[in-house]
Symmetry: C2
Subunit: 202 residues, 2 copies
């Protein structure tokens, strides 16, 4: 594309670096920003740079935070005996939105994936073991994706955590709420039978 | 959504103001930016604010420009006797990319739309008449959308330009290249017969 302006071209190039945004969408966004008041573009630019430069990662659970320790780890209303292990910050948000969990978190920063060259040492596993060793924790809940990588990571963590003697559980895999039996895949259905629970206990 | 960080929340709010980007996509983009080097987010923020604060609109054709006059109006290789009238900056880019047009442009900044409260006085029509009055122009090509609003604007411009005595043409409406006859709508097909051209002349 030939741009009549270097300024537009630069903005389009930078915006199109974002995931899922191509040159055409970037141009649409740039032209939209051009029509806005200068205050709007400044607020956008400032919020991005401020977020990137001032954000902290919680020293305990590696969740994002405005402070050295995140609001969940600091809270006195959370159950400090349970730690839920997740892959990503987004998983923390997802679980928090269910309002079903009152414990703490531990963000691994990824899952073991030999294809992408991510081994256990790339993940925040040692700090998890340390937290368990401190002795306050009675249960670790593994809440990783039901993929090959997620299962591998769960298996590895289970083995590592066995030494500490802490109780380790994993979130249930089964048919989703609202899901119809005949459309559920065989593996999921098979697992949901093997890991069945007493009726009324769910 | 409950954000663990005010910084993230601000960034997500600002990003989700962009057209076509919801809260979930904004969060995905914010978390992506968090993982990038600080240089990347700074380049993005700078390009946006710089574009918004330093951009000019060409004094002659109202196209975007890094200068008081745009590169097309300044160029000595363009045919200065023809002006193509378009709605938007994006239309200039689209026509430029065809490599079929060597004349100048005039960006109206919209089309007449009573529903949206846009009348002729909101558009850059007076400056177009002035350009024609200067006497160098021999043909005005109306390249507006084939919509009700586009046609209304073409009709209005045709009437206004009649006084000046300049030749006025409009881009052809017909079946698109690669389009099959049986799938073309009746109005387009009817028009393409009425405005037929001598074979070999297209």
């Amino acid at each position: 594309m030939n741009f009549p302006s270097k300024l537009i071209e630069d903005a389009v190039t930078e915006i199109s670096r974002l995931p899922g945004i191509g040159k055409k969408t970037a141009l649409r966004l740039a032209l939209h920003l051009l029509k806005q008041n200068e205050v709007v573009t400044e607020a956008l630019a400032l919020s991005i740079t401020k977020m990137r430069s001032e954000i902290h990662y919680c020293k305990t659970c590696h969740n994002i935070s405005d402070d050295v320790e995140c609001s969940i780890c600091k809270s006195h209303r959370r159950d400090r005996t349970t730690i839920c292990v997740v892959e990503d910050i987004r998983d923390v948000l997802a679980i928090e939105n269910t309002n079903q969990y009152q414990g703490l978190y531990h963000v691994l920063g990824g899952v073991i994936s030999p294809i992408q060259g991510i081994g256990p040492e790339e993940l925040k596993i040692e700090t998890l073991i340390e937290r368990v060793m401190l002795g306050d924790v009675s249960e670790i809940i593994l809440a990783l994706s039901a993929t090959m990588e997620g299962d591998t990571t769960s298996f590895y963590l289970g083995k590592r955590l066995k030494e500490t003697g802490v109780k380790v559980s994993t979130i249930a895999r089964g048919i989703p709420v609202g899901g119809e039996l005949e459309f559920t895949d065989e593996v999921t259905l098979g697992r949901s039978i093997l890991t069945r629970i007493n009726y009324g206990n769910e």
